[in-house]
Amino acid sequence: MTTAPLLKKPPSRSPATAAQGRRAARLRRSVREHLTAYGFLCAAVVIFALFSWWPIVRNVLLAFQDVNFATGSTWTGLTNFEKLFADPLLATAWRNTAVFTAYALVLGFFVPFLTAVLLNEFRHARAYFRVLVYLPVMLPPVVVALMWKWFYDPGPGLLNEVLRTLHLPTSAWLDSSSTSLVSLVIVSTWANMGTATLIYLAALQTIPGELYEAAELDGANLWQRLRHVTVPQTRFVLLVLLLLQIVATMQVFTEPYVMTGGGPDDSTVTVMFLVYRYAFVYNDFGTASALSLLLLLVLAAFSALYLRVTRTKEG
C-alpha cells in the first residue's frame, strides 16, 4: 500500500502557544513596569525571612536537637519533648497561663471596652481623658512591675494602706499563692489597657451618630444604646481584639519574671517563664525550643481563627 505524501503545513503557532507568548510578553511588561515595586517588596521579604521566618524555622529544628553551639548540635528526635513532658512544672505552667489568660480576658477585655464607652460619652474633655488612659502604656514594663511591687507590699504598700484607711481587710497580694496570679493580671491590664481602649474608642467613633440619635428619640437609655447600637456595631473589632489579646496574654513573661520569679509555690510560673528558665538558666536550648514550639502551635490555632474571622469580614 502506498501512502500519499503528507501535506506539510506551514509552521504556525497553535492558539495555546500564542496565548502563552502573549502572557509572557505581558509578564515581561508587567515586571518592567513594576520593577521598583518588586525591589521594595524584595527588601521586605528578605527582612521578614531573616528576622521572622528563619528564627521560627530554626526554633523548630532546635526542638529536635541537643543544642551545642561550640561543637555543633546533634539530632535527638523527640528526647527534648520527653524531657519536657517529664517535668511536673509543665502542667503547672500551662494551667497558670490558661488561668492568667482567662483572668486577663475578664479584666483586660471588658475594662478597656467599658472605659472606651465612657470616654465616648464624654463630649468635652475626651482628649484629656484619652491621654490619661494612655499614659501607663508609655511606661517601660519593668518600671511598671517595680512600681506595682511597691503598691502590693503587704506591709506599708499603697494598696494595703488604702484598705486599712477604709477599714477593709488587707491582702498578701503577691506573697500568697491564692492571690499572686490575679495580682499580676491587674498589673498587666493596667499597663496595657490604654492601647485597647484607644482601638475601641476608634471603633466606637465609626458608628454613625444617626443610630444613637434614633435610639435616643426612641427613648433608649445608656444601657440600651450600648446593647442595641454599640455592641452590634463593634462586634468585629471586639472579636479581633479578643483573639489578639489571647495571643498576647498567653506569652506573659515580664510580670512574673520581675515581680514574683514564678512564686510563691510556682503559682505564677507561666509557659514563657519556663521557656526562659530552660534556655537561659538551665542552658538547655533544645528543650526551651520544644516548649516554644508547643506554645507556637497553640498560638497558631488562635491566629488561624483570627485570620478566618478577618477574612470572613473582608469577604
Binding site: 518588586y38 507590699d153 503577691l174 499563692s177 514574683t260 520569679g261 510563691p264 528558665r277 537561659f280 538558666v281
Partner: protein, 457 residues
Amino acid sequence: MSSTGKRGRTLACLTVASLTALTACGTSSGDGAEDAPGGTVRLTVNGQPPTTQAFERALFDKHVRQFEKANPGIDIVPHEGFMDPKTFNAKLAGGKLEDVFYVYFTDARGLIAKRQAADLTDHLKDMPHRADVQDELMKVFQDGKGRQYGLPTANYSMGLLYNRTLFKKAGLDPDKPPRTWADVRAAAKRIAALGDNTAGYADFSKNNQGGWHFTAELYSRGGRIATEQDGHWKAAFNTAAGRATLQDLHAMRWKDNSMGSRQLLQAEDAQRMMGSGKLGMYLAAADNITVIAKQFGGRYQDYGLAPVPDGRSTLIGGEGYMINPKASPKKIAAGIKWLQWKYLDPDLVERNIRDNVAAKLPVGLPMPPTPDIWKGAVRDRVEAAKHKYANIPVGNYQPFMDAAPRITGVLEPPEAQRVYAVLDNAMQAVLTDKDADIDALLATAQKKADQIYSALR
C-alpha cells in the same frame, strides 16, 4: 507555566539572590579572629569596664597598654562587659565570643561538659605562681580527669553582712557580730523592734536565689545539698540541718516578725534595704558592700562582715577566665600570658592597689584588687599590702577575714540552678505561709531534686 507561577519564580530568585548577598555581607570579616600582620597575635578579651565607670575603665586601658609594651607580640583588643549567660550561646554560635572570656564559677562546669572552653592543661605547665593559687579554686575549672580549662581570678565566700549603725541603735555591739544562728535570731528581733519598717534579717526567695541562699545557710550548719554515692548524686538536704534552716527562717518571719512584711526578695532588694538603712543583716559576699555603697547610697563605715553563723562551712563562688574553644595554640598561650599578668601575679598586686587608691576605688575588701585567691606566704603578703593601703575601714571586715582560713569552702552542688529552683519553693513557703509544713516541703523538694539527679545517670 502560569504567569503567577513565573512571577513567583522571579520573586523567589530575587529573594534567594538578596538573601545570599545579605548573608555574604553578614559574614564575619575577622573581628579580631585573625592574627594581625607581622606575626603579632591579636587577642580579644572581655572584662573591660564600661565608660560609665570612668576610673575602672581608665585603669583597665592603662593595664592593656602596659601589657602590650611588655609583650610586643600580643595585641589586646578589649571588649566591654562580662559573661552574660543570656547572650553567651548566641555569641558562641555567631563566632563573636572573645578569645579570652569571663565566667562565673557556676558556669565553668557546664562549659567544660559541653566542650565550650579550650583545654589549657599543657599550656599551664610553666605558668608562674600557679602553685600559689588555692587548690579548691583551681579545681573549679578542672574536669574529672584533672584537665584545666580556665583560671580563677577572684572568689567570694559567704559571710554575714550587717549594718553596724543599726546594731548600735538597737543596743547591740557592732564589734561582736552574731556567731550562731541563735545569735542572728536574737539580734534580728532587737533590730526589728526599732520599728519604722526596719527588718532585722532578710532572705531571698525568687529567681533561684532562694535556693542559693538556702544552700549557703545549710552549708553554714554543716549540711549539704547533695552527696555522691557510687558516682551517683542524691539530695542530702532533708536532714536536721535542712529542717533547722527553714525552721529558723519561719520563726523569724512569723513568730519574731523580724524579717519585714515584703517577701519574694532577691539580691537587689536586700541591697536597696541595706543602703537605705532599713535592714540589719543578710547573708552575702563582700562584693555586696561595694554595690550597696555605689548604687544604693550606703557608706563603707556603716557595714561589717562576719563569718557565716555557726561557721561549719561556707558556700564559695567567684569568677575566672576561660579561652575560646576555637582559639589557636598561639592565642591560648597569649591568653594565659595576659591572664597571669593582669590577674594572677602577686608581684603586681601592690601596683594594682596603688592604682586603685589613686583612683579612689575601694581597697581593703576581700575582693579585687586584693582577691582572696592566694594561699600560704603569698596570701600573707597580699593581706599585708591591703592593710598598708586600705582606704576603707578594714577592721569592719576583719572577723570575716580572720575566720576564712578556718571555715571549709564548699562549691555549689551539681545541677545547681535546677535544684535552686526547687528549693526556691521551700524558701517561699516558709516566708509567705504562716502554716507552712516544713517536713512536707523538704520531702517534696527532696523528691524533685532526686528526679533531677536521676536524669544525670
